[in-house]
């Protein structure tokens, strides 16, 4: 046991720098996860908000989006790989994101699909569950629909929306090592390569780094919640996360 901890410490002192060091690989993981979550948010928040505001197609949209949750990320990566490679062949040189179609691109697709449902569901539910009296009063006073959405519904739903973002981001970071299976150079490399060469220290160190990054993500979003949620709404923060657990029936 003592040996193991000792070896682990040695590993951490010896493997931090360089192209295969854990700093670069952590950065790669952050890049991939952040991009997947951000693109998911850019798509899910506006559509969720609009559908929630007009109370349309919510149930079907949630069902469609939840396919992302039903499909295992592992499966999505495997399915995406041949497609991304084919696409990559047709992309002109010098477009860095796509590369060879290995690594980043299929990883991104899987993580994006994973990130989408919580953000969409929470945005939609959060907007819908804003007190109808408040919305009616706003409309009755002559606020245009866009303004009702922006200055009443979104701020009031913000605790729920940010909770959705947090859940997505943490899930994405925790799942990101899978991208190593399709040759992505993130923290997952240590785990996948570690298994290949049966290096337990390396596997353990990689897992530790992924776990640490997940916890950091969680902390980051708690901070964000404090900053973005209007102060008087923070008192009811605990209730805000509620719509996640319960099935969305509309």
């Amino acid at each position: 046991m003592i040996d193991f901890i000792g070896d682990l410490l040695v590993w951490f002192t010896e493997n931090w720098d360089g192209q295969d060091g854990y700093l670069i690989r952590a950065w790669n993981t952050i890049r991939l996860s952040a991009l997947a979550t951000a693109v998911a948010a850019l798509i899910a928040i506006p559509t969720g908000a609009l559908l929630g505001h007009y109370r349309r197609f919510g149930v079907s949209a949630v069902a469609v989006v939840n396919i992302g949750r039903a499909l295992p990320s592992f499966g999505i990566i495997a399915l995406a790989l041949p497609i991304t490679i084919r696409i990559a062949r047709n992309v002109p040189d010098g477009v860095p994101i796509f590369g060879s179609g290995l690594g980043f691109f299929p990883g991104f697709i899987a993580l994006f699909a994973l990130a989408l449902p919580p953000i969409f569901t929470n945005t939609y539910t959060g907007i819908r569950e804003v007190d109808p009296g408040t919305v009616e009063a706003a409309r009755g006073m002559g606020l245009p629909e866009g303004k009702i959405l922006r200055s009443v519904e979104l701020p009031l739903a913000s605790p729920v929306i940010i909770a959705g973002l947090r859940i997505s981001a943490v899930q994405v970071v925790a799942t990101s090592p899978l991208a190593a299976l399709v040759a992505y150079g993130g923290l997952g490399r240590f785990i996948v390569d570690g298994f290949a060469i049966q290096d337990n220290i390396q596997i353990f160190a990689g897992a530790l780094l992924v776990a640490a990054l997940s916890i950091l993500t969680e902390l980051l979003f708690s901070r964000l919640e404090k900053r973005l949620v209007p102060r008087p709404l923070q008192l009811v923060e605990e209730q805000a996360a509620a719509p996640i657990g319960k099935p969305v029936a509309a």
Binding site: T134, E136, A137, G142, P230
Partner: protein, 361 residues
């Protein structure tokens, strides 16, 4: 000020209209109460005025302008709106809530601040509440903020949808008084929806009684409705205690008061007995120079009426109080009459017979 002309509303997927061919006018500066059982379309009618519900047919005009000739948000910015759920913005301070419409209209900051200060006082709140959030206020206070917010841009018309339905009866009574008091100062045209006939009678200059399906059964002043209900529906809706409701609407000054069995302090036993016999009572009031000191039992008088220490009348009412209050004092007093004075001078008295005669007339 507001005119509804054969307005109908049929909601999608329904065969019977919620409101059918409804027409009535509301004059400038009056409070009109729409009242009726649930399903009578009173809220639908109200919401058609600010187009939260679009009429299926017919026309509505406010201040002579067809409401469909302007975009709905613009129309609504010129009409105050107060609802039962209040709907304050929980993430905005009280001052920000009140400033909603002025900010929307692009008022200067100074003008908004000044207006908010004015309104806070007008609705009976204190200036230190400006920086609080709605959750920190009681229900009654929140509804006052709701009223202030609706009045912020000084709209000529105010729509109120059961605004006091969610507060307890004591606070409701106070808010009703405050609304009447406020109306004496701001002179808005107010359309008020309630299911409570007593509230309608208390607040309305005119009351529109609606039946299920948005049928206008009667549209008149509360006194007129109580005196002569248009039909059986109205009668039933007014309830068993219609006469008592009428009494609460009638001031004592509407009735001719009688002097009653009153003697001077110098009256002898004989004078007292004659007065008692004339009025058919066993007591007399003792007074002089237009003042009434109190009353004594006739059989107690031995020398003159002034020899005895007069018993005070338990209740004395001023002439602007209602007959309902007079009745209350009649049934709870030894003498069986209500004494009316202006605080100093004795005006006369009311017996239960006088009160019921007024009802029968």
């Amino acid at each position: 000020m507001i005119r509804l002309d054969r307005v109908s509303k049929t909601f999608p997927g329904q065969t019977t209209p919620a409101v059918a061919e409804l027409s009535f006018d509301i004059d400038e500066g009056e409070i009109v109460v729409l009242v009726g059982p649930s399903g009578c379309g009173k809220t639908t009618t109200l919401k058609m005025i600010n187009r939260l519900v679009e009429a299926t047919s017919g026309t509505i005009s406010v201040a002579g302008t067809d409401i469909t000739s302007v975009p709905a948000p613009v129309l609504r910015q010129g009409i105050g709106y107060v609802i039962q759920r209040i709907g304050l913005f929980p993430h905005r301070t009280i001052a920000e809530n009140i400033a909603t419409v002025p900010a929307l209209l692009g008022w200067e900051k100074d003008r908004i601040n000044q207006r908010v200060d004015e309104l806070i006082v007008l609705v009976g709140l204190t200036p230190e509440m400006k920086t609080r959030y709605p959750a920190e206020l009681s229900g009654g206070q929140q509804q006052r903020v709701g009223v202030a917010r609706a009045l912020a841009a000084d709209p000529p018309v105010l729509l109120m949808d059961e605004p006091f339905g969610a507060v307890d009866p004591i606070v409701r009574g106070r808010l009703q008084e405050e609304l009447l008091d406020l109306q004496r100062r701001v002179h808005k045209t107010i359309v008020f929806v309630t299911h409570d006939i007593d509230e309608a009678i208390k607040l309305g200059d005119r009351v529109a009684i609606l039946n299920v399906g948005g049928i206008l059964e009667q549209y008149a002043s509360p006194a007129e409705i109580l005196r002569s209900p248009a039909n059986r529906f109205v009668e039933e809706f007014l309830g068993e205690d219609r006469s008592l409701k009428r009494l609460s609407l009638t001031p004592i000054s509407d009735v001719d008061l009688v002097a009653g069995p009153i003697v001077e302090p110098t009256a002898t036993r004989g004078d007292v007995e004659a007065t008692m016999k004339e009025h058919g009572v066993d007591w007399v009031g003792v007074g002089t120079d237009g003042r009434l000191h109190g009353w004594v039992w006739g059989e107690d008088v031995t020398g003159t009426a002034g020899d005895l220490e007069p018993r005070p009348f338990s209740v004395r009412l001023s002439a602007d109080r209602s007959l309902r209050e007079a009745l209350d004092s009649v049934v709870s007093s030894h003498t069986g009459v209500a004494i009316v004075d202006d605080g100093d001078r004795y005006l006369g008295m009311l017996s239960i017979e006088e009160i019921s005669r007024h009802l029968i007339e």
